[in-house]
Structures are given as C-alpha cells and as structure tokens.
C-alpha cells in the first residue's frame, strides 16, 4: 500500500519537475535574522532556493544572490513550522457531520482506517494554517477511540491528498482514558479497554507468524505497528493511562509516541527512562476533564528532562477548530521554555520526532524549501506571518 502511494507521489513529483524544467524557479529569501535551525541564527542572512530545494544558506555578502533570482525580504525567516499532531483535513471548520471524519463511531477499534481516504486538501483550515506558516502536518484520525485509524504526514499544499503527501501511513492513533468509554459502549471501562487492546496485539502477533494468511487489513496494520514500521501514537492524559501505554509498549515492543500526556509531570522519570518522545498537549488546553491537571509549564518540564517533544494543534470538538502551533509555543515560552527551544520544537524538533528531518525542519542545502517569513518574533502575539513557501513555491504572500 505504501509502495503504491509512493508511486503516486513520485508521479506527482515528476510532473512537478517537468513544470520546473519549463520555468526554472529560483528565489532568494533574505532575512534580518534567519533561524536556520542548523547552527546559530544568521543576521542578515540569505536562503537560496532552486527547483523546490534549498540551494544555499548563509550571511548576505558571503552568499552571492545569482542573477535572475527573485528576492523577497523579511524581518525574520524560519523553516516552515511543523504541527506534530492535528486532525485538520479530516475535521473541517464547519463542524458539521459532513466535514467531521476524524472519528468513526461504529466501533472503538479500527486501525485499518486510512487517513488519506478522508483528507480534504482544500479544507479552509489547511489554508488557514498554511497562511500562518505551518507547512507540515501530522494529521489523520483523531483521539477518542481505542484505535481510531491511521495518521499520515502531509505538506499544507496541493489540491489533492496525493500532492500533499509526505508519508501515507505514519502511525495508528490509539487512545486510553475515559473519553473512549464516553464515545463507545464497548469498551465500557478503562480496564476493559486495556484487555481489548492486549487481545488485538496478541492476535496480530499470531497473524504475523502465519505464512500466506488471508489478507486482513486490520491485522496487516497491527503487524506494521508490532514490527515498528509505523508508530503507535497513544493519546493519553492521566498518569494511569501514561503508565498503561508504557506497560503495553514493554509487553509488545512497538514504537511508542505519547500524545497529550497532560499528567506527564507526575510520571516524568518513567517517561524519561522509557525514552519515548512526547507530542505535548496544546499549552492552552482547557484545564478540565481528563486534562484537569494540565500545566502551561509542560513543554518546559519536558525540555528540562531532555525528553524529545514537539507542539501540536490537537483536536477540539468545538472551538478553536484548529489551534496554531506557534501560538501554543509562545505561551510555552512564556512559561519556562527557552525561546530557542520553542523554535526548535516547532521546526527541527518536530521533524526529528516525525522522522523527516532529512527533508524538513531546518534551512539547509538539499532540504525541501519550506520557509516562513515574519515581521517580528514569530512567537509574539502581534507578529504577522508575511510569506510562506512550500517545496520552493510561494503558497502565501498574505499578511496573517
């Protein structure tokens, strides 16, 4: 399946390349300060872009802007931001039944649901995030089911999912906690949920041992999880649920990513010892329900403990229909997270967590030309995003 999609992606890429050959796309992006995330920020820096990729980065003067390169200047230049967990594209801004595809309520366990089958590349919220400088999304099925389905990586560009795809299957979205029993009659309790989950993993282990089994979509993806080919993304809030996820990981050996984790501060040593990354809950998450004990200092706590983390927009049933990662990172920076660490988590840190740091997350020669321009400190409330480039094309010149 993944191979098939890669083929589609490559075809799209070839078409793009063909277009490029006709009309060479060369740009110079100049910034009073350029946060490359690849060494110290550069004062009066230049990023050269050619054919969708970053060609060269350096101080103005040391890097000569070749003739014919279209120059755009801004106060602050950063890599495009990475939203490390979203439902945008599946959960639309109208919030009506026809645009809410993040959670199928027919069964609590459906890891076989693919994200790309529901992604609306032209959704308003995709445009909204893009214009704010978010260029890469980890998106897909949402929290609220034992396994709601799969997640994927996309760029916030393209008119179809194929044009947007970076990785068609990045993870399976699992959730532990009271919200699951709120959405489904089975499981009706958290301990029943764990029994069901363990049973499914055991079945997948058996399936993986079979030679030429009848194809079973559910068992195939669970096998991918067991083999570490795709991530197990566990949305958990309570310390009990965080510990349950870690216990499951020890039992079945999958590649665990903790998501939300608003009580991580209560079990921080265990998370650290397990060496699992955390996609931290939105800093401004409402302190109620399962997230009642959330703290705005969570990102700072993770940073202090050396736990890899990234920011997410998360999921809201009502408003804001999407959050914006740099707004969440700004509040984290106001609550103990060093600004440099906040910017890193928005870019290279996110890319590393998602395993795509070879392509995005920093301004370095050879990487995708995903660039965001600002008229001030990107974390500050009153700063505007003034330009966004994805894959070497200007996708927004709006002031947002």
């Amino acid at each position: 399946m993944k191979q098939y999609l890669n083929r589609i992606w490559m075809t799209a890429g070839l078409i793009a390349l063909a277009t490029v050959a006709v009309q060479a796309q060369t740009y110079a992006v100049r910034g009073e300060i350029v946060y490359t995330m690849d060494g110290e920020p550069i004062r009066d820096g230049v990023v050269l872009v050619k054919d969708g990729k970053i060609e060269r980065v350096g101080a103005y003067g040391r890097v000569r802007i070749p003739d014919g390169y279209e120059v755009t200047s801004a106060k602050v230049v950063t890599p495009g931001f990475i939203d490390a967990h979203s439902v945008v594209g599946l959960a639309g801004y109208l919030n009506q039944p026809h645009d809410q595809d993040q959670l199928d309520r027919s069964s609590a366990f459906q890891p076989e649901l693919r994200a790309l089958d529901a992604y609306n590349a032209r959704e308003e919220l995709v445009v909204f995030l893009r214009e704010h400088g978010v260029t890469t999304l980890h998106t897909g099925h949402g929290p609220g089911a034992l396994a709601s389905g799969q997640t994927m990586l996309v760029k916030t560009t393209g008119e179809t999912v194929n044009e947007a795809l970076v990785d068609s299957v990045w993870g399976v979205a699992f959730t532990l906690g009271r919200s699951v029993s709120g959405n489904y009659t089975n499981p009706g309790s958290r301990s029943r949920a764990m029994a069901m989950l363990r049973t499914e993993f055991l079945k997948a282990q058996e399936y993986a041992k079979k030679e030429n089994p009848a194809r079973d979509l559910r068992m195939e993806i669970m096998g991918d999880v067991l083999a570490g080919r795709v991530k197990a993304v566990f949305t958990v809030h309570g310390a009990t649920e965080i510990q349950s996820a870690l216990r499951l990981q020890r039992e079945f050996g999958f590649d665990l990513v903790l998501d939300g984790a608003s009580e991580a501060h209560l079990v921080i040593d265990e998370i650290k010892a397990a060496r699992v990354p955390v996609i931290v809950h939105p800093t401004m998450i409402r302190p109620g329900g399962e997230a009642a004990n959330a703290t705005m200092e969570m990102a700072a706590i993770l940073h202090r403990n050396g736990i890899p983390f990234a920011f997410q927009s998360g999921f809201e049933g009502y408003v804001p229909k999407t959050r914006v990662v740099q707004f969440e990172a700004g509040v984290a920076a106001a609550n103990g997270l060093p600004v440099a660490a906040a910017l890193r988590a928005l870019t290279l840190g996110g890319a590393e967590l998602l395993g795509i740091a070879d392509r995005v997350g920093s301004l370095r020669a050879g990487k995708d030309a995903d660039i965001a321009l600002f008229d001030g400190d990107p974390l500050e409330y009153t700063t505007h995003t003034v330009g966004v480039m994805i894959n070497g094309r200007w996708v927004s010149t709006a002031t947002r």
Partner: protein, 430 residues
C-alpha cells in the same frame, strides 16, 4: 486544596489589615487608560479607592507601603463583559424565556474558576447564564474580591438591593430546538416570542404607572415582569448573544421598537454591519478565537472585528466567554486585536473602561483615576506581549492574586489540583 484555601484566606486577611495604610506602586509604566501611559509612574491607593495617579513626583503618604514596579506595567484590573466562571447555571428547559431567573442564586463564591480569572488580571466580571434560551436569565456583575464565602461578598455593592446585573438574551441557532414546544425552531418565531415578552412588560409597566401611589391598584408582583420593566426603564442592560449579520440587525430592530439598552455579544459578523452598529450607537462585546469555524453561524468570525468596529466609530470591549477562552489568557484578546489593526489605545480600553461602560460601572472601575475603586494589576512587561505575566491582581486595595506566592502560582500555570472544581461549558456557550 482545602488547606491551600485556608492559607490563602489567612494571606488575604493579612493584606486586608495592611490596607489601613496606603499602598503606593511606583517606578513602573502606569497605563491609566483615560490618559497617556506614564513612565516611572506612581499609583497610590487607600481604603479601597485610588488616591492619586501621576508621574514620579506624585506625593506618596509617609506611612504608605511601597511596591517597587520598576520595569513593570501597572494598569486597571481587567473587565470581562461575558464569562461563565463561578459554576452557575440559568433558566431550565421549562421555557425559552426566564427573566425571573438569577444566576446569582446558583454561583459558588469559592469556585476555583474565580482564581483563574484573578490570575488573568480580571477584577470585574459579568457572569452570564448560557445562550441555549431566548432569554436565559439575569446576569450578575461581580467584583472578584478575594475573601468570598457568600455571593454577596462578590456583588458590586455587596447586596441584592438595586441593580447588580443585566439580562441575557440570544438569537440565532443556539436557542432553537428542533422539537419546538415551548422553544422556537425558527428565527422568525424567536423574534416574535421576544417581542411578545416586551409587549407584556410594557403592559405591566403601564398598569404600575396608572396605579401611581395607589397600592391597591398595582398589579400583583411578578418577578419576570419586574425584571423586564427594569429593562424597559434602561436600568438593566440587555446582554444579547448574536452572531450573523441578519441576527445582529434583528437585535437593533427590537431595540428600536422597545427602546431597551443593549450590548451586542460575540457579534461574529460585526465587520459586515459595523456601520449599522455604529449608527445605532450600540456597543459590542467581542471575542478572539484562534481559528475560524466551529459552527455555521460563526464561520465568518474574524480577528478583524475589533478593527472594523473601531473604524466605524462603534464602541467595543473584549470578553473571554470562559470556558470558550481561558480567563488566564484574557490579555491575548487585546494583542490579537492590535495584530488585526486595532489601535493600541483602543485595544487596552477594550479590556477595561469600555467593558466598564457596558456594565454601567465606568464611574467605579476600568481606569486609574482618583476616587475610583483600587482595582489594578501589575504586569511583568508590556500588556500586549506573549511573554508578559500578570504578577499581581488587586481588588479594592486588596491583593487577590500574587504569582510570586507558591500557593497561588498554579492558578496561573495550572498543575496538579490547581482547579478542583473547573467545569467545562464548551458545548453550550459561545
């Protein structure tokens, strides 16, 4: 949390005693709202009121307790014109209009949600029943004093005598019910039911007038009609939840017909009818939400609403609608307003004095002027910066939040058991 509460009460008591002496905050940038910011300014308060506001040479009483605010900003306590803190409720499912219902009868004065608001610098708040009714009840204006054990401790004049709140009305989809019955299921029916209520109130008012001093001719007391007569007399302000441009115009039409005083709330399409709103001279209480959408009637909500109203010459204030947005982060509203084109001065006024006007409290709160209530906040930096914290919140000369106090810090940051009784109202408000 209970021993924290006890400690907090002890601290508050200690601070209250200290109020026998004047308090002078000096060295910071003082933003009085009614005038230009004062560098190296001085604010002197005593007995719950502001004594003096001015520059570095402002006289400070000899016995004053001095607070050094060097490098910090001092401004009036924030006024939140629309919130659901306090764990209150409102009208029930028995009818669509409940002018007799007082949210003040349902609020928990010790609610942790008030600590969220204090941590966000909010000192005056209009607590509203929800928008799931055409008229869900009477709102209550509260001063967030720190020692509250009875709702009276929070009422603006510590008493149920006189006017201590407005009335909440709504149109648009929240108050529609598909099942109908006692509720409307169309906008036309909504307006007809509201007009009928006003007509009843006019009739009741006429009977009272005609009775004059003759008690025997007065109509029997009617709690619903008494509140509505206060509305007709302009003593009780209507806080009207409305979103679409045509629903907003319906509110203006009803106001024209019955002459009540109204504040438009949320007003998602304000940008589309800003001139009509300005021409009517009606103020708006608006909200900042980080992204568009959520329901059909709010899909055109834009952060540019404030700028559109300011350009049109219409008054506006911001509100949290807590739990829709978080009281602790209320100052963001002004910053995002400026980001979208509101002037800095108006944005700060929209957090303070403009809101005070909408609650008929501008003579007491919303600006730093001698004689007004000593409600102020000390900020670590510029009020519009993401990096700025509310360091201290004072109500009537008493410190009710101090970020430097380890027992109170979690009210700002969150953390284990920071908000024991926080309840989310996300589904039914906004």
């Amino acid at each position: 949390m209970k021993h924290y509460l006890f400690l907090a009460l002890a601290l508050v008591a200690a601070t209250a005693q200290a109020q026998d002496r004047p308090v002078a905050v000096r060295g910071g940038t003082v933003i009085p709202i009614t005038g230009e910011p004062i560098q190296n300014g001085v604010l002197v308060v005593h007995n719950g009121k502001i004594l003096a506001v001015g520059g570095a040479n402002t006289a400070i009483p000899r016995n004053a307790t001095i607070i050094d605010a060097t490098g910090k900003f001092v401004m009036p306590g924030l006024v939140d014109t629309h919130s659901h803190v306090g764990n209150g409720d409102g009208g029930d499912g028995s009818a669509a209009q409940h002018p007799d219902v007082r949210i003040a009868d349902a609020i928990n004065p010790r609610s942790d949600t008030f600590n969220k608001a204090r941590a966000g610098g909010i000192t005056t708040v209009n607590v509203m029943p929800g928008s799931g009714h055409l008229l869900s009840g009477q709102t209550v204006y509260l001063k967030l004093r720190g020692d509250a054990t009875r709702i009276e401790d929070l009422l603006i004049n510590r008493t149920f005598d006189g006017i201590y709140g407005g009335i909440k009305m709504a149109n648009g989809t929240n108050s529609l019910r598909a099942s109908g019955g006692t509720f409307p299921n169309t906008r036309g029916r909504s307006a007809a039911m509201q007009r009928q209520l006003f007509l009843r109130a006019q009739e009741y008012q006429r009977k009272i007038r005609e009775a004059g001093d003759d008690a025997s001719k007065r109509p029997a007391r009617d709690l619903q009609m008494e509140a509505m007569v206060e509305v007709l007399e302009g003593k009780r302000i209507v806080h009207y939840h409305t979103h679409t441009h045509y629903d907003i115009l319906t509110v203006l039409r009803l106001r024209e017909e019955f002459g009540f005083r109204v504040v438009l709330h949320h007003v998602s399409d304000a940008w589309a009818v800003a001139d009509e709103i300005a021409a009517a001279g009606v103020p708006s209480s608006i909200i900042h939400i980080d992204s568009p959408g959520g329901k059909l009637e709010t899909i055109h909500l834009t952060p540019e609403n404030g700028a559109a109203l300011e350009r049109a010459g219409a008054d506006f204030a911001y509100h949290t609608d807590d739990g829709i947005t978080d009281s602790r982060l209320f100052l963001r509203s002004a910053a995002f307003g400026v980001r979208a084109g509101v002037s800095r001065a108006k944005a700060l006024e929209a957090m303070t004095l403009a809101g005070a006007r909408m609650l008929d409290m501008a003579d007491r709160v919303g600006s730093l002027e001698p004689g007004k209530d000593a409600d102020f906040i000390i900020l670590s930096g510029d009020p519009l910066s993401v990096y700025t914290h509310v360091e201290q919140t004072w109500v009537e000369g008493v410190k009710v939040f101090d970020r430097a106090n380890p027992e109170q810090r979690p009210y700002a940051t969150g953390g284990l058991n920071a908000f024991d009784d926080a309840v989310l109202h996300v589904a039914c408000e906004h």
